[in-house]
């Protein structure tokens, strides 16, 4: 089958490693440093199995990275709940990616990492 062929990926880092505090009924920003990580394609970010009431409100992008706005539903989100959110990034335009997850991997662990674990 030939050599391992993973997606070439640029490293992304969470600018603030402290847990993001999402107020019930409100929003909170999470910023990632990811210079040019996603090219120019329109970007969609989805949470994987998020806790009830937590969702992505919006995604914005700059030259230096992306900002994710998370929201907590006032009726469903439970105060005190904490943990890790797992997110996947999609290209909206790439025809091969229509309807398919393209980064459906254990996030935070690296995908197709060519290093011993």
């Amino acid at each position: 089958m030939g050599a391992w062929q993973g997606n070439a990926q640029r490293p992304m880092t969470l600018l603030d490693p402290q847990p993001v505090k999402i107020p019930v009924g409100g929003t909170a920003q999470v910023r990632f440093a990811a210079a040019g990580a996603f090219g120019q394609a329109p970007l969609q970010i989805e949470l994987s199995d998020p806790p009830e009431g937590i969702a992505v409100d919006s995604v914005t992008r700059s030259d230096q990275g992306i900002t994710l706005v998370l929201k907590a539903d006032p009726q469903k989100a439970k105060p005190g709940l904490k943990g890790n959110l797992i997110a996947s990034a999609f290209s909206k335009e790439h025809p091969e990616n229509q309807g398919w997850e393209v980064a459906d991997v254990p996030l935070g662990l690296g995908h197709l990492a060519r290093h011993p674990v």
Binding site: Q5, R10, P23, F38, I54, A89, V117
Partner: protein, 538 residues
């Protein structure tokens, strides 16, 4: 397209935001533990394990993820299968790595699954004469660990599948000695590979009591042992009540088992308690029930209860089974070659509407590579051969893979045929544990109304004049064949022959496929006989 680091979060009331943050705790060397929503296992679990854990749920057991068939066909079948499992909503697959195979045998499928975004659980199935001691077991694992050393963390290892089944190792302490040696070997190669470790016997939850520092005395090269190993997960199986999940052909209902819910929850509580005690995750790497004979609503009620109770305890679960090929385990299977995924079960486990499944080969032992006995006159698994002469299996026919069927037609025509009963009878010679009665309740080869079936095979005759005639009929009753082809002349060079048939009658659930070879004073070689459908039936 890209990956994002895990995002630690906390949901707070508005007033909490007005409170000055507490001083940040000193950064530990290891990632800060994360707590998953709804966890009842208490405590915290290491972040890498938690992230991966979320990518295992829900999972599906693939069984023995290999054919002895030609590798090209194996790879294409399994790629299609993996796409199908992914599209059905499963996030992980668990397959048995036979100790009879080298790791490279599975590598193409492992790579494909990882690239598809699936978490892959390689579970060692310790079978055969090369796995008789702890040293053998450790050697296998060292080889697997080294082979996959550079693979991503989404590849995880499950140390042992049900030691009491194979290699029938029933000494609990000895089982743990094997596992301990294997973990030590793996940790020398991959200190952070996620390992799923269950107990002895059939890996029931009560045997997690053996998954302890007392039995797992290994130390990583850095000195970490069981207690400090943040990449070790507990594994267990749950088939309670057994008389319900595997009733050996009897129709039983949940009403027959008044305490069935308690049996299930007691098992899960034991597993959850183990997780709490050792501050580790725990995964249910097998659960399910034979779906025949069953009352449908009863079966679905059991499935939903077990799945929900595992979820309630934050126990990831891997369903048994979604097998990509016909086998005696069909009674457990929620994937049919002709009917696709069991949507009712998917509605519970993955909540995903399955897409039509790819066209799977319905026949077993298509390459004539599985047989019993030795010598030229071997008994060929899954096939029945009738005629005036005995067939033989040869390895020099140059058709496909290593082996091919050789048929001597001097004394008259020879017919090879396959149906569920012939498969069962041949399999049972080597696997008497399988229930004949149960297997017959879910026959394998189907002809669905409206579908077009393509029967293909490779063949070569020694001389001109040989022919092949295909026949399809209902194996469950004496009735005229629903299809008989015209005799196909066979060439003296390797050719692939294809016969198409569109089934217009009622669905036939237990079909028989036959090929009759004729030709005086001739010999034909046959290989890679497959039956696939082009679907129109829903």
């Amino acid at each position: 397209m890209g990956t994002l680091p895990a995002i630690p979060f906390e949901i707070v009331n508005d007033e909490n935001l007005k409170t000055p943050d507490k001083p940040a705790l000193p950064q530990a060397e290891e990632p800060k533990p994360a707590v998953t929503a709804g966890s009842t296992t208490g405590g915290t679990t290491p972040a890498p394990v938690t992230a991966l854990f979320q990518r295992m749920q829900p999972g599906i057991c693939v069984g023995h993820f290999d054919h002895d068939d030609d590798l090209t066909e194996t790879a294409s079948v399994n790629a299609a299968y993996l796409d199908s499992a992914k599209a059905a909503g499963f996030k992980s697959i668990r397959f048995f790595h036979s100790t009879q195979k080298r790791p490279v045998f599975y590598e193409a499928n492992v790579r494909y699954a990882l690239d598809a975004g699936l978490t892959v659980n390689v579970c060692l199935f310790a079978n055969g004469a090369n796995t008789k001691s702890a040293e053998d077991f450790v050697r296998h694992w060292r080889g697997i660990a080294e082979h996959y050393r550079d693979f991503p963390p989404a590849l995880v290892f499950e140390l042992f599948n049900e030691p009491a089944v194979s290699p029938k190792l029933k000494d609990n302490a000895e089982v743990m000695r094997w596992i301990n040696g294997a973990v030590a070997a793996i940790r020398e190669v991959s200190p952070r590979r996620i390992l799923l470790v269950g107990g002895p016997q059939f890996m029931q939850s009560q045997f997690l009591s053996y998954v302890t520092p007392e039995h797992l005395t290994y130390r990583s090269p850095a000195g970490a042992g069981f207690a400090e190993d943040k990449h070790l997960i507990g594994a267990f199986h749950m088939y309670e009540p057994h008389a319900y999940t595997m009733p050996k052909g009897k129709l039983v209902t949940l009403e027959d088992f008044l305490n069935w819910k308690k049996l299930v929850t007691d098992n899960f509580d034991l597993a959850a308690d183990w997780g709490t005690k050792w501050n580790k995750r725990v995964v249910l790497t097998e659960w399910g029930a034979q779906n025949v004979p069953k009352q449908r609503e009863d079966f679905l009620a059991y499935t939903k209860f077990v799945f929900d109770e595992a979820n309630r305890r934050d126990i990831a679960s891997v369903y048994y089974a979604g097998l990509p090929r016909n086998s005696l385990m069909a009674s457990w299977n929620i994937l049919g070659t002709e009917f696709g995924w069991d949507q009712d079960v998917l509605d519970i486990i993955t909540r995903t509407k399955a897409k039509p499944v790819p066209s799977f080969n319905q026949l077993a032992n298509s390459e004539f590579s599985e047989f019993e006995g030795r010598g030229d006159n071997r008994s060929i698994k899954a096939w029945q051969v009738t005629g005036a002469s005995q067939p033989s299996v040869v390895n020099n026919a140059s058709l496909s893979g290593v082996f091919a069927l050789k048929l001597d037609l001097d004394a008259g025509p020879v017919t090879i045929s396959q149906d569920t009963l012939t498969m069962i009878e041949s399999w049972q010679k080597t696997d008497p544990m399988f229930s004949h009665e149960t297997a017959l309740l879910k026959p394998f080869i189907h002809l669905r109304s409206g579908n077009t079936y393509r029967l293909t095979f490779l063949a070569r005759a020694e001389k001109p004049g040989a022919t092949a005639t295909a026949r399809l009929d209902d194996a469950s009753k004496n009735a005229p064949a629903c299809f008989t082809s015209k005799p196909l002349p066979l060439a003296t060079r390797k050719e692939e022959y294809a016969i198409e048939y569109t089934h217009t009658g009622d669905d036939i659930m237990n079909a028989r496929v036959s090929l009759t070879f004729s030709g005086e004073k001739n010999t034909v070689f046959v290989d890679r006989v497959m039956l696939k459908s082009h679907r129109t039936a829903p």
